[in-house]
Symmetry: C2
Subunit: 240 residues, 2 copies
């Protein structure tokens, strides 16, 4: 008895893996996390918000012989509660098989032409601005060098800016990015203006700090998706 925990990628339905798509085709039930495009699960879709106890639902169905896929946004091992969830399922005697997906932390900057590593920048750190239990990120946890990719930042933007400025240069480039298969929005400027830049965004957004923001990949053009979804694009570049 098994549940496949599958990364759906950063939002564009074509950025799921071939293996992920195959497992969906073979599945009886596809439980979708919030933000996962519904067309991926098709008629098999069960939104996680409609379930009182999602793990119990998946375990019971797997035990009754149904093939269950749990589609998670991005990659399941990046802020995906993978450890807790698989431990819970194993208490039901149900195994997890994990299928990696494109993490939004890497793919979203990339789709805006922002490289995470470049000459002189040999590392990047992915952080969440709000830890579980609602404790906010402290400057001690922020590396002094390398690119930063910050998730869940919008709700604590004032605090986040203060903590960032304790360890990073106010003139460093910062980008606030919002991307899905349907819409995209970006604001680019200097770290000192992070709060101003992020106004007008709604969660989820990815915040990138570092050199790559000012050294964009030339001509990283994005093609519309195969499935011809309506492509609303609110491209607002606010620079200094």
């Amino acid at each position: 008895m098994k549940v496949h925990v599958v990364g759906a990628g950063p939002g564009d339905p074509e950025l799921i893996t071939v293996k992920g798509l195959r497992l969906i085709a073979e599945a009886d039930i596809v439980v979708l996390d919030r933000l996962v495009p519904k067309e991926l699960g098709g008629e098999k879709s069960v939104p996680i918000s409609s379930l009182q106890d999602p793990v119990r639902f998946m375990a019971v169905n797997a035990r009754e012989g149904r093939k269950v896929v749990w589609l998670k946004n991005g990659d399941p091992s990046v802020f995906g509660r993978l450890l807790e969830v698989c431990a819970e399922l194993s208490q039901w005697g149900v195994q997890c098989e994990v299928v990696p997906g494109d993490s939004s932390a890497i793919a979203v900057p990339e789709l805006f032409g922002i490289p995470l590593t470049l000459p002189g920048v040999h590392s990047f750190t992915v952080l969440t601005a709000v830890k579980r239990g609602r404790e906010a990120l402290s400057s001690k946890e922020i590396p002094r060098c390398g690119t930063l990719v910050i998730l869940m930042g919008l709700g604590v933007i004032g605090h986040l800016k203060r903590e960032l400025l304790k360890v990073r240069d106010p003139d460093e480039g910062v980008a606030v990015l919002s991307w899905s298969g349907e819409s995209r929005m970006e604001a680019v400027g200097n770290l000192r203006d992070l709060d101003r830049l992020s106004s007008g965004f709604k969660p989820p957004a990815v915040i990138v700090v570092g050199e790559g923001v000012k050294k964009r990949v030339p001509f990283a053009v994005e093609e519309p998706s195969l499935n011809e979804r309506s492509c609303l694009r609110a491209n607002s570049v606010m620079g200094d």
Copy 2:
């Protein structure tokens, strides 16, 4: 005129994205980086090692109207020289379109059941142990908290261990991981034994430092790939 720079994922041909596979199907020429599975490019494959000037080759073919895909290991924006390569192509008047792929830095730990984030661990950093110009990583560049994912570490393992021990606990968990569609090998222990654990590995390997190494995801079973490749598995777990 355009070259598609496509992430091939961490090695298993089924872990490329649906979009990446479609672009390969539509392409006339598929240039493969070292380590990318050859079956992905099929008869269109041109190994990059066979080309004297790969960028010139791709640019000339794109300018002559051929559809060119450049398949890169993992994700192109993670230590993939994306910025330099797209800048070079643009000098030929050729644009890059970038298609994200599953980065080995995330997918390889995940396929061994090692979560990068977990309760109490809210960040992870991806670093290369050898910077361009062959300068090795220094302890100043290594964050004191969060999970570390280190690439290119095998060639400088003694130096790497010394620098890690300046900022991290010798009792922290460490894993040396090697994974491709064809074979897998792991060694797990404490940071103080990193050099011993890594003996017997050949590049490329991924080194993970942090709590996730000792709190593995239960039952993260990997299925054999669809295409039934011979699955040689040298699973050697060396623990303390």
